[in-house]
Structures are given as structure tokens and as C-alpha cells.
Amino acid sequence: MAGPNSGAECILAYNSGTFGSPTWTTLTRAVDVDWDAPVTWGNISSRFSLWAMEVKALQGLTVNFGYRRRAGVSDTVFTAIRGYAFGARTKAELAIADGVIATTGTQYIRATYQFEMSRTEPLEDGCQDNFSAHLTYEEDTGTGREPSWTVV
């Protein structure tokens, strides 16, 4: 359905296939998902003008999300993303989509990340595993990957 939607209707997925032939596996138990693409700015001011001027230098990309793991229940999705984050340098792709990835009109960001994780166990609220994915370098047949914005 087109129109403004909530986070509950968005899709966060990891690629369990290959870069050339992706298989997007949804993180169904994701909680809040945030992505940020901060930019560093360079100063290019000079005496020519009163105005301070900047130039876009580098752009970063990080994705933060929570995951609601169930104690005592086997969860292949959690096992995969925990494997990227805990004690490993595994690089994996994420797709952050505003709807079902196969649906026409859905837009998603695709990029390759390395991961870190933490966990919160509040006394009076649900436990949550928290992941932070940072953009990293990977190449395929000598070509470095860059993030892409896809409109299905």
C-alpha cells in the first residue's frame, strides 16, 4: 500500500546469498532501525566573499538496530547476525527498505558493513540485542563496492 508508513512496515534484511545474486533474508524481529549518512565538510572560504562556504568531503553510513531475541528458541537470523558481530570481522550486506523488497515502488539502501553488538537486559522491560553496522570496503572482481539506493 502506497503512502506514509511506520517502522513496523519497513523491512531490514541481510544478504544470505551473493553480491551478484542476492537473497534478502528479513530480520523479522528487528525493533527500531536507524540509519545515518553523516557528511564531513571542508572549509573552502576565502577573502573573495563574506560568506563561509563548505564543500562536501566524505560521507559515512551506519545502521543501528535492535533485535528481539527469544530465550530458548532457535533463531537462524539471530545466529547469522550475531556471527557477523561477535568476535568476527565478517562483512555482510544489509538492505534497509521502506517496504517489501520485491514490491514495485519500494526503495532500499544496499551496502556492505562490518558489525558490532551489545545487549540490554532491563529489570522491567524486554531484553534487546543491539547491533551497529558500519560501512566497510569490499570488492568484486577488482571493483570496490559502494552503497546504492535502489527503487524497485
Binding site: 524481529r29 528487528a30 533485535y67 528481539r68 524486554g126
Partner: protein
């Protein structure tokens, strides 16, 4: 401790209320109760017509739902256990002893649920146990003055995640 019910043919709040009834009946409380003293009701009557009988009336008092994660809703179900004891009109000072029995039962039921480790039950977990009549009041004083009745409510809040 008995295990929590798996979903049967009743609505989940009703299954939960029935489970609370069965747990209270089976619990080893200092206050001995027979089955007729613990029952599930839809409309707890404020003024009990029956006098001289300590009762625990179990009712569903609230159902709330909110998104927990992208595939599951969190259901919060409030089950109220109303502890009532209506004394005969000529009880006089003996009413105090009867009301003490009501307070004791309310405390035992609250402790029955408070002192269990949350998360033991896979499908439901206890999220809150409130004792009394709201705020800091342990019983409803108006019921004593209007009905010669001790009334206290133990509110149990259960949480369950439900998805497709």
C-alpha cells in the same frame, strides 16, 4: 509451579483468568480455600449478597496491545483478583478479624505472583503485581462503610508476544 497454558479454544484473556483461578485453588496458602471460594467472574459485584464467606473473584480487567518488534505485538493483559469478605450486620468488633483474613489472603495472592522469577513461563510473563485499591490504599474503605465488606484487589499484569 504449574506451567502456563498453551492457547486452546478460549480467548487468551479468559484462558489466563482461568489459569489464575486454578493456580490460586492449587496454591499452598496459609488461608485454606475451597473451590467455591475462588471463581472467575465477568462483573465483580461490589456488594456481595453472600455474607461470612471469604472469596477471591478473578476477572479480566484490561487488555492493551502495542508493537513490540516488526513481527510481533505485545499483549498486556490485566487480571484482577478481588478479595471480598462481607460480614454479617451484627458482627461488631469481630469484623476486624474477618477483614484481617481478607488482608492476609490479598497479601498471599500478591506474593504468589510477585516471588516467582519472571520469564519462567514461555508464553506469558508477569510484568506487574499491584496490591490494594489503587494508590497506596490496601483496601476500599467505602465498601466497609457502605456494605460492611472488605474489598481489596490484586492486579496481575501479564505480557505475551504474539505474531503471525
Amino acid at each position: 509451579m504449574s506451567s502456563m497454558p498453551t492457547h486452546g479454544s478460549e480467548a487468551r484473556p479468559i484462558e489466563l483468568a482461568n489459569f489464575v483461578v486454578s493456580e490460586i485453588r492449587a496454591a499452598s496458602l496459609e488461608t485454606k480455600l475451597d473451590e467455591s471460594q475462588v471463581e472467575r467472574v465477568y462483573l465483580p459485584t461490589a456488594a456481595q449478597s453472600e455474607t461470612g464467606k471469604l472469596k477471591a473473584l478473578v476477572a479480566v480487567s484490561g487488555v492493551r496491545m502495542a508493537w513490540d518488534n516488526r513481527s510481533e505485538w505485545e499483549y498486556q493483559i490485566d487480571i484482577d483478583v478481588g478479595i471480598v469478605f462481607r460480614t454479617p450486620l451484627n458482627s461488631g468488633r469481630d469484623a476486624t478479624k474477618d477483614y484481617d483474613a481478607g488482608m492476609k489472603l490479598a497479601e498471599q495472592i500478591a506474593d504468589l505472583y510477585r516471588f516467582r522469577r519472571a520469564g519462567v513461563q514461555k508464553d506469558f510473563r508477569i510484568a506487574g503485581v499491584q496490591f490494594g485499591a489503587g494508590g497506596d490504599q490496601p483496601y476500599i474503605p467505602e465498601h466497609i462503610s457502605e456494605f460492611n465488606q472488605f474489598t481489596s484487589v490484586v492486579r496481575l499484569t501479564f505480557i505475551q508476544l504474539r505474531g503471525e
